[in-house]
């Protein structure tokens, strides 16, 4: 009896689903490693490796997941807030990432230059410029959603198609290379730890402090649950929705800089492609309702790294990158179907029937 209540306590835990899916992915890895006769724990192995340029770095599959999944984790932070406050998704984040990367590289290389190793302006100017463009994009989306009452998906559809195209225009339809080690820093290693992960952690800490230490987190949830009631209670609903889009744009800018720095170039066509889907998926995987209201930041972050873990696992299993989406789709459908209210109600009903039977007998 006692055991059962612990189990139901675990099941009732808000992060049950995201943590379960992450554990499941790890289990698949272990089974696969056992099947091919490798060390069963090779998934968790972290070793120190010498590289030609950077000296010593941490190496291992987990490190790789933490490194590669950081952009989606950063985006998922902003997406969680947007989904919570406005019950809609910001589908422009991938394109905005690309625009920020292009603008940053254009500033650093100078307009019309396609490859350079010396920076035209100080690094800080380029990076802050890129992030600034992200903030402007976020403000544009926020204005449309909060003040013009346009459905979030339609409002962000504008920048979804325009931002990437503007980025291409800024780069003259070329891939701008900034071959400079100082710019490459954001996508490489800080000591032994991957810099993208450090940036993601800093973003997570700042955002969660902002939400916990100020009332913003509660305001966002209350606007998401009922924006009219919040307004009557004295909250400026519009400004709060606007703020969440601004934060989302800012984080998209940061993710864009990281993505550009990783390849030390602005590949407008490919940076951030389908990242908006991954970010939305991370929010849904984290157990957050896409209908707005209450949110769990930790869930979204775990969701983001789970997606990366799935991708890495699929590559390890020998699935090619173009075929991987099939499995992703199946996993997504399974996870959301389990959460679906009609199925939940069905299970509850069956459990209740079982209990009644137990009492009678």
């Amino acid at each position: 009896m006692n055991q059962k209540s612990t189990w139901s306590k675990i099941k009732g835990w808000s992060l049950f689903l995201p943590v379960m899916s992450l554990l499941l992915v790890m289990a698949v890895n272990i089974i696969h490693d056992v099947a091919i006769g490798a060390n069963p724990l090779s998934f968790f192995m972290i070793t120190l490796r010498q590289t030609t340029g950077n000296g010593t770095i941490l190496y291992g599959r987990i490190i790789d997941i933490l490194n590669r999944g950081s952009e989606v984790a950063i985006l998922a932070l902003g997406m969680t807030l947007v989904v919570s406050s406005s019950a809609g998704t910001d589908i422009s984040v991938g394109s905005v990432m690309s625009l920020c990367a292009s603008f940053c590289c254009m500033l650093l290389a100078g307009y019309g230059v396609s490859s350079t190793s010396t920076l035209a302006v100080p690094l800080a100017v380029g990076v802050l410029g890129g992030i600034g463009i992200g903030v402007i994009c976020g403000m544009f989306n926020g204005t449309l959603v909060a003040y013009f009452h346009i459905q979030p998906m339609v409002a962000t559809l504008i920048l979804f198609s325009a931002a990437r195209a503007i980025g291409l225009l800024l780069c003259n339809d070329l891939i701008v290379y900034v071959r400079n080690s100082t710019f490459g820093f954001f996508g490489s290693f800080l000591g032994v730890i991957p810099t993208p992960f450090v940036i993601a952690v800093i973003c997570i800490v700042i955002i969660s402090l902002l939400l916990k230490k100020t009332a913003l987190g509660m305001y966002i949830q209350s606007v998401g649950i009922n924006s009219k009631a919040s307004r009557i209670a004295g909250l400026n609903s519009r400004r709060i929705i606007f703020m969440t889009y601004l934060i989302c744009g800012l984080l998209a800018g940061i993710a864009g800089i990281v993505a550009a720095s990783r390849i030390t170039s602005a590949d407008s066509n490919n940076i951030g492609l389908y990242f908006e889907m991954d970010a939305i998926l991370a929010v849904a995987l984290g157990g957050n309702s896409l209908g707005g209201g209450k949110f769990k930041l930790a869930g979204s972050i775990i969701g983001a790294y789970t997606i990366q873990a799935i991708t890495t696992t699929l590559y390890a299993l020998g699935v090619s990158s173009t075929q991987a989406p099939v499995f992703k789709a199946i996993i997504v459908i399974l996870i959301v179907a389990i959460q679906a209210p009609p199925l939940q109600a069905y299970f509850k009903k069956r459990n209740a029937a079982k209990q009644v039977k137990g009492v009678i007998s």
Binding site: L157, S161, A162, A165, T322, A329, I330, V336, A337
Partner: protein, 340 residues
């Protein structure tokens, strides 16, 4: 009385859409008349290149009327084209392949509709998974580009190159030869589908129930409509129309490849929105969506005729138009709510 003013608001939006198309097209004719933009054939070419998109937008309009969204259409087109191309390469008959594609479309639509309607999962997530699935399946079938030639299927090749001449509006080209304007069979299919959707949405019980469910699902259920079934039907129709669109699309490209029709779902959504369909459901018209497609087509046609503009301009211009339209829509909505 109230209802009349509401109807008027939507009619004005539709008129603005049509007016904008006329202005855009007339502007193109004046600016690039010397490059042949004013010929009837240019307009027909817009129809030919966008035949697939018209079919997809019809289906998407229905889904959007029920307050849903279907972003799997682009990927479904890629998968259908790949199935058509590989099937014909292995010697299957074109008619059989088209039937197979349609059946796949129906099955896919029913599955998505079931998840949205009966399991109440958000449409965005379901169709996003559908998109991933179709894109991935395309790669599973074949990762390379498979083209359809005269050798692989004579029948399909003949359809793709068939011309339906139009008896008026021809012109004499600079070699002194009279050019008869023509359309392709795919345009006929697309226009028939448009007509079918228009009549269905206007005059059938199912068509009206799409509006009812999108307008307010709870009151629709109280009225005795089977909301779940209506939603399932919407997604099924969307996928069938999309499969028909895929055949039209394939007749244009004559190939199947993984990267085909990427971003087509967004073109279709923006066309429907420009045409006055609201994503919140219950409001919209398939004729508006048709003009939305034409506006998109005209923009890219103008950019192509100019020849000097960068390839990213159509995207930026469409986005700017979308911006203009949704701001007008929202101003209208605000004015209406103030009147009340």
């Amino acid at each position: 009385m109230k209802r009349q003013t509401k109807m008027n608001g939507h009619t004005i939006l539709l008129l603005i859409t049509i007016g904008l198309f006329v202005v855009l097209y007339a502007g193109g004719c004046i600016a690039y008349g010397s490059k042949g933009f004013a010929h009837l054939q240019t307009f027909l070419n817009i129809l030919i290149t966008n035949a697939g998109l018209i079919c997809v937008t019809c289906g998407l309009t229905i889904v959007m009327l029920t307050a849903g969204i279907d972003i799997s259409v682009g990927a479904l087109i890629a998968m259908d084209c790949m199935i058509l191309a590989t099937g014909m390469r292995s010697g299957m008959n074109a008619v059989v392949m088209i039937l197979i594609v349609l059946v796949i479309g129906i099955a896919f639509g029913i599955f998505q509709g079931f998840l949205v309607g009966y399991l109440e999962i958000q449409p965005f997530i379901v169709t996003m998974a559908g998109m991933f699935f179709c894109r991935g399946m395309t790669a599973v079938i074949c990762t390379e580009q498979v083209s359809i030639t005269e050798q692989t299927s004579k029948l399909f090749y003949a359809w793709a190159n068939a011309k339906i001449n139009i008896p008026f509006g021809g012109y004499i080209n600079n070699k002194g030869k009279y050019m008869v304007p023509y359309i392709r069979p795919s345009v006929v299919v697309a226009l028939l589908l448009l007509l079918f959707t228009f009549i269905m949405l206007r005059h059938t019980k199912l068509g009206r129930s799409f509006y009812a469910v999108g307008g307010n699902a709870v009151s629709a259920a109280m009225m005795g409509l089977n909301v779940k079934k209506v939603k399932l039907c919407a997604y099924m129709l969307s996928s069938i129309f999309c499969s028909i669109g895929a055949v039209c699309y394939c007749l244009n490209t004559m190939a199947g490849s993984v990267s085909q029709a990427t971003g087509l779902e967004m073109d279709a959504i923006s066309s429907a929105v420009i045409g006055g369909t609201l994503l919140t459901g219950g409001v919209g018209n398939v004729i508006g969506s048709f003009f939305g497609v034409l506006i998109n087509g005209t923009i890219s046609s103008i950019v192509k005729t100019n020849g000097k503009l960068a390839s990213s301009w159509p995207n930026i211009l469409t986005a700017a138009l979308l911006f203009l339209f949704i701001v007008i829509q929202s101003v209208f909505a605000m004015m209406r709510s103030r009147k009340k």
